[in-house]
């Protein structure tokens, strides 16, 4: 099983130096994880490092392809509030 980075990644470099397995690499359009190398940080750290520092909700998926940082979990903004704010801006 392996973590993966998807297109919402903003290329902030935070995860890359932390990976104990050197599985993360810079790529276009965004950083990626080499699934063959990723160990999910087993035996190294209690928490997967990439998912623990990534500032972007939804940029990293866990081994079950679930969002490691779901909406609202990092910013504290309730998802409904975010949607309402975005809808309001669109309407202007």
């Amino acid at each position: 099983m392996a973590y993966s980075i998807i297109e919402t990644c903003v290329n902030c470099w935070a995860c890359e130096p932390l990976c104990p397995s050197k599985a993360i690499f810079e790529d276009r359009p965004h950083f990626r994880i080499d699934a063959k190398k990723c160990t999910e940080c087993e035996g190294e750290f209690a928490d997967p490092q990439c998912a623990s520092i990534c500032p972007i909700e939804g940029a990293i998926l866990n081994g079950l392809a679930e969002n490691a940082n779901p909406p609202g979990s990092l910013t504290g903004i309730p998802p409904e509030r975010m949607q309402a704010a975005m809808a309001e801006i669109q309407a202007r």
């Binding site: 750290f45 928490d47 623990s52 910013t75 504290g76 903004i77 509030r81 202007r92």
Partner: protein, 499 residues
């Protein structure tokens, strides 16, 4: 504040920015020990007077961050955006060094290079220190400075001291974890994401420890705070007291900028920023406690040029690749320009100021006149020299019988030039005039009919009669006119409802 009698005590004030361009008896530098004052004297971010003459730049080499702040959205990167920490061009250290040297060769006034983001420079130690190392070797006439949230600071103080970095800015918004939990949702510490109060407590501890360690090493520390009404506004007085006690030499309180379209927690949740008045009151409260810095323009992290003036477009990476820089020659030219500027500053310092004598007379007459805020349009050099319609920001001065002092900057059109994409239908002009709320006069080189009328309606007197005059002298002269006209004997008639 006591009355400045210019030229009276040259020996005491020598080297400081005692008069002329600074013009304020509340000179921020006068309380500092000599060696510290020397360090900050030519630093455009730290010295009110120097920013009229010298320039700084930031390079964006540090993308990663180790904490989350509620006023920051890591996703945001828009060309219309000029909040701190927001940049569009990420550079590697080699590119950054190239860019700095290209700018330094073309803009000799550029004396300070800062690394401030877009993430936290100390969360990107290799990239940050590689840049500093190369610049120390190749461009020794440029001062280096760095801003940090403080989390990784204690671990990096030793390394910082090796690079001869004499200015460090720490952003400290609180010293109480309860308040911290409302500002920082999480920190990344010892390989874990730590949320809430526990995380804030670690951050605060690291910031304070880092501050102490830097002071112990003799490295200058400035503290920045973001004023968040209802969250840390009252608390910042305590912060000011604590950081001063520990040896920070300046405390800069900046307003929260929060709009829903920024996608930040505060923006989306409707947290408001402070009004100009609230900010000023807090800055005044804190300055009783400590030396405050008022002229921070919250510049864009990759801005190039004199403070407030962004020339970044002239120095994008593709343009720099084609430039051939002979830095040895450039350094000679730079030194000449610096010497010339020094001569002018010296002359200004020594020139007796008519305006202040006039103000002194005014005070002697025993007439008590109230203080007045005035807005000034300037493109640099410490003189009134900008057309009202060209100003992207105004400098706000307060004139009173005792003093003319610099208060703050107000940006017009704020950070967004997008017009209909960001903001309501209010015209730019009306918006700009609202930005000048609280001011009673605006000094500029020229002004058109339409804004003239609208300003008058808003109770702000436009004044184009002091073009090319030193700002403080012009403000003092206008104040005297108003006082002589009997306009200042009564408290101000409020024209529009104030916030």
């Amino acid at each position: 504040m006591e009355l400045t009698v210019l030229g009276q005590d040259a020996s005491e004030q020598a080297g400081g920015c005692s008069s002329g361009s600074c013009g304020s008896s509340g000179d921020q530098m006068s309380h500092l020990p000599d060696e510290i004052r020397k360090k900050v004297e030519n630093h455009p971010c730290y010295s009110e007077e120097a920013h009229h003459h010298f320039a700084r730049m930031h390079v964006a080499v540090a993308p990663a961050c180790n904490i989350q702040c509620h006023y920051c959205n890591r996703k945001y990167d828009c060309a219309n955006e000029s909040r701190p920490g927001v940049v569009s061009e990420l550079l590697n250290p080699d590119q950054a060094v190239k860019k700095v040297m290209a700018v330094a060769a073309n803009i000799p006034q550029m004396t300070v290079l800062g690394i401030a983001g877009p993430g936290d420079p100390l969360a990107n130690p290799e990239r940050t220190f590689d840049t500093f190392q190369q610049l120390t070797e190749k461009a020794p006439d440029i001062k280096l400075c760095v801003s940090t949230n403080g989390l990784a600071l204690p671990a990096q103080v030793e390394e910082l001291s090796k690079h001869n970095i004499d200015h460090v800015t720490i952003t400290i918004n609180c010293v109480d974890p309860e308040i911290g939990a409302k500002i920082y949702p999480w920190v990344f510490w010892n390989n874990r994401r730590i949320k809430g109060k526990k995380g804030a407590k670690i951050l605060i501890r690291q910031q304070q420890k880092g501050l102490e360690m830097l002071v112990a090493k003799g490295i200058l520390v400035k503290v920045n705070s973001v004023m968040i009404p209802g969250v840390n506004d009252e608390h910042l007085k305590e912060v000011s007291r604590v950081v001063k006690e520990k040896g920070a030499f300046l405390h800069n309180v900046m307003p929260l900028i929060a709009e829903a379209e920024h996608g930040t927690f505060y923006g989306v949740m409707g947290q408001r920023g402070p009004t100009h008045d609230e900010l000023q009151v807090l800055q005044d409260d804190c300055s009783g406690d400590m030396n405050m810095m008022r002229h921070c323009r919250q510049c864009r992290a990759d801005a190039v040029g004199l403070l407030g003036e962004d020339r970044g477009d002239e120095f994008t990476m593709d343009k720099i690749e084609d430039m051939d820089i002979d830095y040895e020659a450039a350094m000679v030219a730079r030194a000449e320009v610096h010497a010339q500027i020094e001569k002018e500053r010296e002359a200004k310092r020594n020139a007796p100021s008519q305006a202040f004598v006039a103000l002194a007379d005014l005070q002697q007459s025993g007439k008590k006149t109230r203080p007045v805020l005035m807005a000034v349009a300037t493109s640099g050099g410490g003189v009134v020299n900008q057309h009202f319609g060209h100003a992207t920001e105004f400098l706000i001065y307060e004139a009173s019988p005792e003093d003319v002092r610099f208060i703050s900057h107000r940006k017009v059109e704020l950070y967004c030039s997008g017009g209909d994409t960001c903001g309501d239908a209010e015209t730019a002009l009306q918006k700009n005039i609202r930005t000048l709320e609280g001011c009673e006069a605006v000094l500029c080189s020229k002004i058109g009919y339409e804004p003239w009328g609208l300003l008058e309606e808003a109770g702000i007197q436009p004044n184009g009669e002091h073009a090319m005059e030193p700002i403080e002298d012009a403000v003092a002269a206008v104040y005297k006119e108003m006082a002589d006209g009997g306009l200042l004997d009564e408290p101000r008639q409020v024209v529009a409802a104030t916030a």
